[in-house]
């Protein structure tokens, strides 16, 4: 079995431990450089570190996929069917982490969410939805149209006109969503630059806070779009 060289980024904040098999020093690498045995996951290691990546938001999809395939090839439980139970469990732990990390990092939105969670800016699983102030009026109108549509349906009234209005609104919000995504991408680039050039801590914190706020706005609009789609689809 070939060894994946310990990558620089992987050592970030990860304590040096010794290999369970040969006691050689290991710093978060998937395999021991000395004996090649799969190693336990260090506590608190991030998905970025798992792939040997810095904590930046621009990730080249093809290279991430290539890494994913390469690591799958080595870590997948198929390789460990005849290993000891201990090693089998390590493979299960690492390969599930690999899949979880890939699933998260390949999706640009999930990637930002994860970074914020990992840095403690966002609480896991909480998508606080904020109504964007500039959209409040439109949201109000939308809810009204939705109510009218439901009433019209119940009363067997004319729904065609209302449906047209809702479709237009849906289109509008979809565009809003695209704008938010563009905004998020721009913030991401700023963040990457700050990481590269060692931007000061307060600037980084401010960027993270803005990304968090943008994500909340995004969640809100997305829910609106989904709600309208559901109403129109039924």
């Amino acid at each position: 079995m070939s060894v994946i060289r310990s990558q620089d980024a992987q050592t970030e904040g990860i304590p040096v431990t010794s290999c369970w098999n040969c006691r050689a020093a290991v710093t978060g690498a998937h395999f021991c450089a000395a004996c090649g045995k799969v190693q336990p996951l260090p506590a608190g290691a991030s998905y970025f570190a798992f792939f040997g990546l810095p904590q930046k938001l621009t990730i080249e999809p093809a290279s991430l996929e290539g890494q994913f395939h390469m690591l799958s090839w080595k870590l997948h439980p198929d390789n460990f069917v005849r290993a000891s139970e201990f090693e089998r469990n390590l493979s299960l732990e690492r390969s599930s982490q690999l899949n979880d990390a890939y699933r998260t990092l390949r999706d640009p939105i999930a990637r930002v969410e994860y970074l914020l969670e990992h840095l403690g800016v966002r609480k896991e699983g909480t998508t606080r939805q904020q109504a964007p102030p500039e959209l409040l009026e439109e949201v109000f109108e939308l809810n009204e149209s939705l109510d009218e549509l439901r009433d019209a349906r119940a009363a067997g009234g004319d729904v065609a006109a209302l449906q047209g209005r809702l479709e237009a609104a849906q289109q509008n919000f979809q565009e809003g969503l695209d704008d938010v995504d563009t905004e998020l991408a721009a913030l991401g680039r700023e963040w990457d630059a700050a990481v590269d050039f060692g931007g000061d801590e307060s600037k980084k914190q401010a960027l993270l806070a803005r990304m968090n706020e943008t994500l909340n706005r995004r969640a809100y609009i997305r829910n609106l779009v989904a709600g309208v789609a559901k109403e129109l689809g039924s």
């Binding site: 395939h69 599930s96 899949n99 699933r103």
Partner: protein, 613 residues
């Protein structure tokens, strides 16, 4: 260690295959009747002997009450789940069943994994005869859309058949493996698998890397209760209605007559895959003959809604994979029902390309299983399968709402960590309910398991228990918990919502090992003897009890006599006589037991009586 094999445990047919070391290609093993297909039919004859496959299929007509087909439909399901199916399938469900269905075959009842284990044992014996060597490990295929309970039930069946299940592999993925090996193609492949009882669609990406080929499943979807069986039932419905209207004859849907009718309709269905018309003839004893011509066109009208039902999962899988139908480079057809021309046309039209069907659709799944078995046996060298979990995993939160923790179509193994704490002061247990499914409310999803996290009393929110949910490479859930405050591993006793517990499996295994080689009569003798000995010991104890003086001397003598008779019967080897004597002693001691009201004695007697029913 013995050989490894790949097994396709199908709804209608099962097959066993191995990888031929000489040619490097997989091969199916034929059974004693020359065919590689083993009908998934099990029959238990009057003296308790289990018959599997072709001879059992014959019993479907002569002894339907002792014979079962399509048992795969019952795997991992509870009684409430199968109510609809019971209207059309002649399953005889034991009234005592709840979350594990027991089926009556003659005078005994069996769980679905036990019945499936008989099919697996039969196949295992085919392979052992073929190799002249023991076979003890297998890869078994399951429909991609099987949930956790259905997968667990399949794994249990393997264990009960004396096989170490190296891996459960999804049927369409196995087919892709066999197919990819055969064609050496790369790109996006759609596998449309329409079998006897299940429908699956899987979308894969075949990639060549420096190390070898990766078969990565991007998305899967399906219906675990949609297949050729449903077409048969549609034809059966039509015929029954016409026979009722024209001849006034009503069928018992569990009787023998309907099995004969069903058989001729299936033959007609198969003929219509190549012919434009066919004639069904069915004799109605005194009432004459039901003769019916069915044209291809009429048949297609009848089955159109069934085929349409396969397209919704296809669309969902494409949406999840973010692919358009025309982006698929290849479309592969698997399963007997894809021989139907309308199925081929529907699929071909949708994907805008002619589907592939050059590999035998009956064998391709088993062949792929054999390839995977070899990979696991000899190590990953040239190929790697990356499969996904078909259904989202979630936990129930406040108000019965589901919080999704692992989304569907995640590559497996996949995991999720959740932190649990107490909500009120001095709470000592936190209930966790795990579910699978896409709906938002817990009540609409499939309950997988429940467990309790125990914690010492303390202020609310103090406890910190981290639970790790992990879906392994078989698609089966594993749960582990850790107390973050003490960093101690927490033991969780997971109670599966459907399916057998470990203890039940152990018991069945013990029984099966103990009894596998013994014939029915021998087993009866052992059972009767054990029972007799328990009763004799309990009776002796009862007679020694001072309170037993309350019964009359005559009764006392009757009890003593019945004891002597039973002992005499035990000396011989006739289990029927032992049974009679046991019944007699039970009758003779009834009053004694009542008088004593002795807990232990009472249980001893009652226990036995319950077993008898």
């Amino acid at each position: 260690m013995g050989r490894v094999v790949g097994i396709d445990l199908g709804t209608t047919f099962s097959l066993i295959a191995y990888l031929d070391a000489q040619t490097g290609s997989p091969k199916c093993i034929p059974g004693p009747y020359g065919s590689t297909l083993c009908p998934s039919v099990v029959s238990v004859d009057r003296d308790g002997k289990v018959i599997v496959g072709e001879p059992a299929r014959a019993k479907l007509l002569t002894q339907p009450e002792r014979t079962i087909y399509s048992v795969k439909r019952l795997m991992g399901r509870g009684v409430a789940d199968v109510q609809d199916e019971l209207k059309i399938f002649p399953f005889r469900i034991d009234p005592g069943s709840d979350n594990v269905i027991r089926v009556r075959l003659g005078d005994k009842s069996f769980t679905a994994p036990e019945i499936s284990a008989y099919i697996l044992r039969e196949l295992k014996s085919w392979a052992e005869a073929y190799f002249n060597e023991p076979v003890d490990r297998a890869v078994i295929t399951v429909p991609a859309y099987f949930n956790d309970a259905q997968r667990q039930a399949t794994k249990d069946a393997g264990r009960l058949a004396g096989l170490e299940v190296l891996r459960l592999v999804n049927e369409p993925t196995a087919a892709a493996l066999a197919y990819g090996l055969h064609k050496q193609k790369r790109g996006h492949v759609a596998v449309y698998d329409f079998g006897g009882g299940t429908f699956d669609i899987s979308l894969l990406k075949l990639i060549s890397t420096n190390e070898g080929d990766i078969y990565q499943v991007l998305a899967t979807n399906g219906d675990t209760h949609l297949g050729g069986d449903d077409i048969d039932n549609a034809l059966l419905d039509l015929a029954r209605r016409e026979i009722r209207e024209k001849f006034g004859v009503e069928f018992d849907h569990r009787g023998e007559a309907i099995q004969t009718l069903r058989k001729s309709l299936i033959r007609a269905k198969h003929e219509l895959s190549s012919a434009q018309r066919t004639i069904v003839q069915y004799p109605l004893e005194s009432k004459g003959m039901y003769v019916r011509e069915i044209t291809r066109a009429e048949f297609e009208e009848l089955i159109r809604p069934i085929i349409a039902r396969t397209m919704a999962p296809v669309k969902m899988a494409l949406a999840d994979a973010k692919l358009a139908p025309q982006e698929m480079d290849e479309v592969v057809l698997v399963g007997g029902s894809t021989r139907i021309p309308l199925v081929r046309k529907t699929v071909g039209d949708y994907f805008q390309r002619a589907p592939h069907c050059e590999l035998d659709p009956d064998e391709v799944v088993a062949l792929g299983a054999a390839v995977q078995a070899d990979i696991l046996e000899t190590g990953v060298k040239t190929m790697l399968l990356l499969d996904v979990t078909p259904l989202s995993l979630g936990i129930e939160t406040m108000g019965g709402v589901i919080a999704k923790i692992i989304p569907r179509n995640s590559t497996i193994p996949a995991s999720a960590q959740e932190l649990f704490t107490t909500g009120v002061e001095n709470q000592t247990a936190i209930d966790v309910h795990v579910l699978q499914g896409e709906r938002e409310l817990a009540k609409d999803c499939r309950s997988l398991a429940r467990f309790q996290l125990k914690t010492p009393p303390g202020p609310a929110g103090l406890a910190r228990i981290e639970v790790k949910f992990l879906i392994d490479a078989n698609g089966i859930l594993q749960v582990a918990a850790r107390d973050l405050r003490t960093s101690e591993q927490h033991t969780v006793e997971v109670q599966p919502s459907y399916g057998l517990s470990d203890t039940e499996i152990e018991r069945m295994l013990e029984e099966s090992i103990e009894y596998a080689e013994q014939d029915f009569a021998e087993r009866q003798v052992i059972e009767a003897r054990t029972e007799a000995e328990t009763i004799l010991a309990a009776t002796d104890k009862a007679l020694a009890d001072p309170r037993s003086r309350e019964i009359s001397a005559a009764e006392r003598k009757a009890v003593a006599d019945s004891e002597a008779h039973l002992r005499a019967a035990l000396a011989g080897g006739d289990y029927k006589l032992m049974r009679t004597r046991i019944d007699e002693i039970n009758a003779a001691t009834a009053h004694l037991a009542e008088v004593l009201m002795n807990g232990a004695l009472q249980t001893a007697f009652e226990g036995k009586r319950l077993d008898d029913v």
